[in-house]
Symmetry: C2
Subunit: 378 residues, 2 copies
């Protein structure tokens, strides 16, 4: 077994019915019951003031840290969450749940519809970032936490953070949106749409009704390959791959000749083993529909919000460029929020929020310490 | 009929056998006969000193200017080629040929193999940028032109320009590589590879043997969609589409909701009507294999070359970023070439070489005038 300070962690499940006719979604439909898979690390203090919610990105899950029980696999943000780390489990109680619409334990298109005893497929209602956050709020209520010390996350996780801030400002002391945006841009939508069309074009997709037969593996793999290019940077690809040829490159014309091609094939193929194609469609669509400014002005967006804000962007991130993070800070400053912006120097591209942990740790550790101290002396 | 100063133009064909056992390709195979479709505009002068070769990009063809006979369709660089335009047909004789491996009249995988009377498909030998240029040289020989006034082109066209410069420096007075590179980077390879895999994953592709049945339209359309995203810029997409919803957007979750999605679908669908999927595989692979520095140093690349050079890059072009053009200029300066570099301010992204014609015209017109003048006074 690998060394890991948190050791084995076990996913938990929280299922709720929603009030009255079920859990109300933004699309107008109701849904019940809703299950969220979640993990928690560290101890909730007596006053329940040290809880931090971590929100994951498109392909993430509840397993943010420690080793997954049975799989011996480290969490996706394990280098940031644990004893003495940025999200210090010696001080804080950390919660991470799989998003609504996901495929890693939470209710999503691959879940069994209790009425039909078959997977929902495309009969699963469409979900939004706000729906994901509303479901997380049910979990936080259930855990008896009145006010989160912070909500943090990168990429789509950051969209959830911003939604918490706008929708439930009274429920958090601070927020840490990383490498994210107030609204998805046409370029961001375009890349997602090509990924979706790759899935839909795969004959195995069968209009979403592929459970029990071969999944649309080629389409999902292609979507992931496109994603990976956008998560890296021109520079990081140059450094990692250059024009190095694959050792087993064959003279046949259309196999993977270059290491960069082999890497993309490998990452695409791996993704298919752990992710559901329909969830990819639902979640990427939720990202594209995300527009916190819809019907609101930049001035009005965070009006009256009291939480503190730490906004982090990365220099080589061209998928979520820093001007989008500056827009968040602008909205915060217009509303008089106590807010800090940092653009971290990195060549990792969008992946930097997962990899550029040294500077990220420094920023987050001090920010959380200050926020936690301020509520204790109040 | 549309107004067009050049009026109707007719594609011509040049077929050659190659010497001895055929036209020798870089892969080691020989091929014969080779056909190149080409168009020509303007008049070749008596001394044959006013000929300019235009090289096209991945999806281009020989129809660079004027209206295609029968189709009433303007050429892909019609705004740059014609009377009084950047490539002034009142002064110069302009030639453009479809590349070897293409599908618009030149020999390529969709051509009929005279031995089998069936399309070559994947039995077509693999081609390189150098092979394309070698075939163009046969055409220039055939036209009796000893020395081209210039060779010009953007993107993959620019790779051909640079190859001419390195391989046949005695055959040109000047070269104009635009928005291009000395070698394909891993990011550029990666985008092409995803496009290729989209074609290959399409069950209609049938290992390239789809002629006479339904072509891999979905795969090719996807490849083109990915391409289009990389040809535009974040800024130009924001300006053109924003987050505007399609008028006919339906509440169904996975149709095109946003105009940017509709645009990509439209462009993808249109491309399928005029392009062959196998040609896309062959030509994109030729681009990926392009590395003029393979086995050469930057210092040695243009050693002894006497041609003049105009290198143009565009500010928002992130697919062929300006640092790649600066590398070309560096190689030219190291070899003592008379060379000029200009980075044009544009928000169009890589497409700028087709769209940012005002400044491009200014630069090219003056450059050509100077080169033409210098050979006349010599």
């Amino acid at each position: 077994m690998k060394e890991n300070a948190l050791g084995l962690v076990k996913a938990q499940e929280f299922t709720f019915a929603g009030s009255g006719e079920g859990f109300k979604l933004e699309c107008g439909e109701s849904f019940s019951p809703v299950t969220l898979a979640y993990e928690a690390y560290g101890q909730l203090n007596r006053d329940k003031t040290n809880a931090i919610l971590i929100a994951h990105a498109l392909s993430g899950d509840a397993h943010a840290a420690g080793l997954a029980d049975g799989e011996n696999r480290a969490g996706w943000w394990d280098n940031m969450i644990g004893p003495g780390k940025a999200f210090d489990t010696d001080k804080y109680f950390i919660i991470c749940s799989n998003v609504l619409g996901g495929c890693r334990g939470s209710s999503g298109p691959s879940s069994i519809n209790p009425k039909t005893r078959k997977p929902y497929g495309l009969s699963f209602p469409s979900v939004t970032i706000r729906d994901m956050v509303n479901a997380q709020k049910e979990l936080i209520d259930y855990l008896g936490i009145d006010k989160l010390l912070s909500v943090a996350g990168g990429s789509m996780g950051g969209m959830q953070v911003l939604t918490w801030l706008a929708a439930y400002p009274g429920r958090l002391q601070s927020a840490i949106p990383i490498a994210t945006t107030l609204k998805h841009s046409p370029q961001q939508i375009a890349f997602n749409e090509v990924g979706r069309q790759a899935i839909i074009a795969d004959p195995c997709w069968r209009n979403g009704d592929y459970y029990g037969s071969a999944p649309p593996a080629k389409g999902l793999s292609l979507a992931r390959m496109i994603g990976h290019i956008t998560y890296m940077s021109d520079q990081s690809m140059e450094k990692k791959f250059g024009r190095i040829k694959k050792k087993d490159a064959r003279p046949f014309k259309f196999t993977a000749d270059f290491e960069v091609e082999g890497y993309l094939h490998y990452r695409g193929g791996n993704f298919v083993k752990r992710f559901d194609a329909n969830s990819y469609l639902y979640i990427s669509k939720a990202m594209d529909n995300f527009n916190l400014l819809d019907g609101r002005t930049l001035q009005g967006l965070f009006k009256g919000v009291k939480a503190r804000l730490l906004v982090i962007a990365f220099k080589s991130d061209w998928l979520y460029p820093s001007y989008q993070s500056k827009e968040i800070i602008k909205a915060a400053k217009l509303a008089g929020l106590e807010s800090t912006y940092c653009e971290v120097d990195s060549t990792y591209g969008h992946d930097a929020f997962l990899l550029e942990t040294k500077e990220e740790t420094h920023l987050i550790r001090h920010f959380l310490k200050k926020v936690f101290y301020s509520i204790q002396v109040r």
